[in-house]
């Protein structure tokens, strides 16, 4: 997977990931479409340009590790590993269906390409930190990326790991925060304010960078530059829009919960295709 996708290709993959997620969530009548749409461009860039992984060898010891810590964005995560070649896209039909292995929160069992099961927030970063520590001590070339949500930063376990990773100078660890500004019940700012977020990371010994999380060029530039500073873990704060790509879903808490009806699916897919 070292072939470098063009920006057009990345945008095309992001559209595919959004379309898959919309279909999967609409058909399975599950939640979290807004969280999938906000992280689509991040995942497209990760798999298209950043991650050194080999779909033919999901257990390749020298692979980069991507942990999807915002496990509720499961549909798009499965879509991303399918589009990256880890499994046939037909398997996505089984998402959240009886008898399938694609649970409604990211699950590794029986799903190649998924490093770690998540769904309870605040688990991915400590585990990624442990991987990064082991990799660092072994002098390994592979890197660890953890994709997180903004609401997830309420979890104390993350700050335990942020403190640890900064102290241990784990510059082989990068987090990407899908900062879509909306959490489960309300806006992040009205729930538990994260700002000034970059300052917090800097104070914990990390190297933060803020980017437009829907600009594949900006995301690529930032992620290709990690570690942003030697001896510091990197925090890419990706400013995104919840529900991005479907105008009537954007910025609305409702789409953390509701599944698009078949009619809504048609208009949503049309919007994504035209984007």
């Amino acid at each position: 997977m070292n072939s470098r996708a063009t920006e057009d290709e990345l945008r095309s993959v992001a559209r595919k990931l959004r379309s898959h997620s919309l279909r999967m969530i609409s058909q399975a009548k599950t939640s979290h479409i807004g969280s999938c749409l906000s992280v689509a461009d991040i995942l497209a860039v990760m798999y298209g340009r950043i991650l050194r992984v080999d779909p033919r060898r999901p257990d390749w010891p020298d692979r980069d590790r991507l942990i999807m810590s915002k496990g509720h964005a499961a549909a798009i995560t499965y879509a991303a590993v399918a589009e990256a070649g880890f499994m046939p896209a037909e398997r996505l039909e089984g998402y959240a269906r009886n008898g399938s292995q694609l649970y409604g929160h990211v699950t590794h069992v029986g799903v190649p390409g998924i490093e770690f099961s998540s769904g309870s927030l605040g688990h991915g970063l400590p585990v990624g930190t442990g991987m990064a520590l082991a990799g660092k001590r072994a002098g390994a070339k592979w890197r660890v990326f953890v994709v997180m949500s903004d609401g997830e930063l309420d979890e104390g376990s993350n700050w335990e790991a942020i403190l640890f990773a900064g102290h241990h100078q784990l510059d082989n660890l990068t987090i990407v925060i899908d900062y879509n500004k909306i959490q489960s019940l309300d806006a992040v700012d009205k729930t538990l304010r994260l700002e000034p977020l970059a300052d917090k990371f800097r104070a914990f010994g990390w190297s933060p960078r803020e980017v437009d999380g829907h600009d594949v060029a900006a995301l690529s530039t930032a992620l290709e530059a990690v570690p942003l500073e030697k001896g510091r873990p990197s925090a890419i704060i990706a400013h995104t829009i919840k529900g991005k790509g479907v105008s009537w879903m954007e910025g609305k808490v409702l789409w953390h919960y509701r599944a698009p009806t078949p009619d809504e699916l048609v208009t949503a897919l049309a919007e994504v295709a035209a984007s």
Binding site: V127, G130, A134, A138, E160
Partner: protein
């Protein structure tokens, strides 16, 4: 037990660079030698148990054999969901070690009384739960959990427990050790209560009772066969543990016996009452309040046996 554990872990780490130790800022005068000899295999996670377990799971998923180390409830309950999801669900090769199992830190307070940990760890899928009975078993159990590919919980007492085994017995996870045989009653003990059970067994044997003494060092998976045989071949079964009578060794034995055909021996669970301690005391003092001292245990057993003879007579 703590000393036997850390010495054994040191030896194992000498031979196998995969063996790592992650501590939650605890282990003063215990872990120093390991940390000095194996700096690349040692991590102090700080006072952050959730991260400690997450780190351990992450390290294990890259091929390490990772021991985490803290005091009873901090090692288990504080980070329970990390143990469930990160370790057990992923079958990560993490060995959760708790020191101070039961009332070992008696006068430090209820926060430090590990009285439900076995029940809770036992409920987790993929988890093997081991509570060695003396320093010999602690050494053997440490080796056994390293050889096991997957999660384990190792519940230790503190330092200075008496030796029960004179020699190293054959040791296999999930296989109880029978130290003495008889048909009048069976004492099944786990953890530090093995020493008490051993003394009580000797006293009862001197009174011409045939006593079977079993060390159930692995509480999960429990040795069903040994429990079933005790229930059928001996007239009484007693469990002894420094843990709540709910859900630990006594609970596990009760589950096995409840599904046996009718007509087996009755069971008495001897352990901690399922309540918070209200009185300050050291381990021995608090154990005596729960009837776990040698004299109280003996009395409990003798009363039950006398009652049953009364019924027969």
């Amino acid at each position: 037990m703590r000393t036997a554990f850390i010495q054994t872990l040191n030896e194992l780490a000498d031979r196998d660079p995969r063996v790592c130790l992650v501590v939650g800022d605890l282990g003063f005068s215990v872990i120093e030698e390991f940390a000095q000899k194996h700096p690349d295999q040692f991590v102090n996670a700080g006072v952050s148990e959730q991260n400690m377990i997450g780190l351990a799971a992450g390290m294990a998923l890259t091929g390490k054999i990772v021991f985490t180390y803290s005091i009873g409830n901090f090692a288990t309950l504080r980070c329970l969901e990390q143990i469930r999801n990160d370790v057990c669900y992923h079958r990560a090769n993490v060995k959760v070690v708790a020191v101070g199992g039961g009332l070992a830190y008696g006068n430090l307070g209820v926060t430090h009384h590990a009285s439900e940990d076995v029940a809770i760890m036992r409920a987790l899928p993929n988890m093997v739960v081991v509570a060695p009975g003396d320093p010999v078993e602690a050494r053997l159990a440490t080796r056994a959990v390293v050889a096991l590919d997957g999660p384990a919980y190792l519940r230790l007492g503190k330092a200075g427990e008496p030796l029960v085994h004179e020699n190293e017995p054959p040791f296999e996870l999930g296989r109880a050790i029978t130290l003495r045989d008889g048909t009048d009653l069976t004492l099944i003990a786990s953890g530090g209560m093995l020493a008490t059970a051993d003394k009580v067994a000797r006293t009862l044997a001197a009174q011409n009772l045939g006593v079977r003494l079993v060390s159930m060092h692995t509480v999960k998976p429990i040795d069903r066969e040994v429990v079933a045989r005790a229930a059928v071949e001996t007239a009484h079964v007693f469990t002894l543990e420094e843990h709540s009578i709910e859900g630990g060794l006594g609970g596990a034995v009760a589950e096995v016996m409840a599904e046996l055909d009718p007509g087996h021996a009755p069971l008495k669970r001897i352990g901690l009452r399922p309540e918070f301690n209200k009185t300050v005391g050291d381990q021995n003092y608090l154990k005596s309040l729960h009837g776990l001292d040698e004299e109280s245990v003996l009395k409990t057993i003798q009363q039950i046996i006398a009652r049953s003879y009364g019924r027969v007579g």
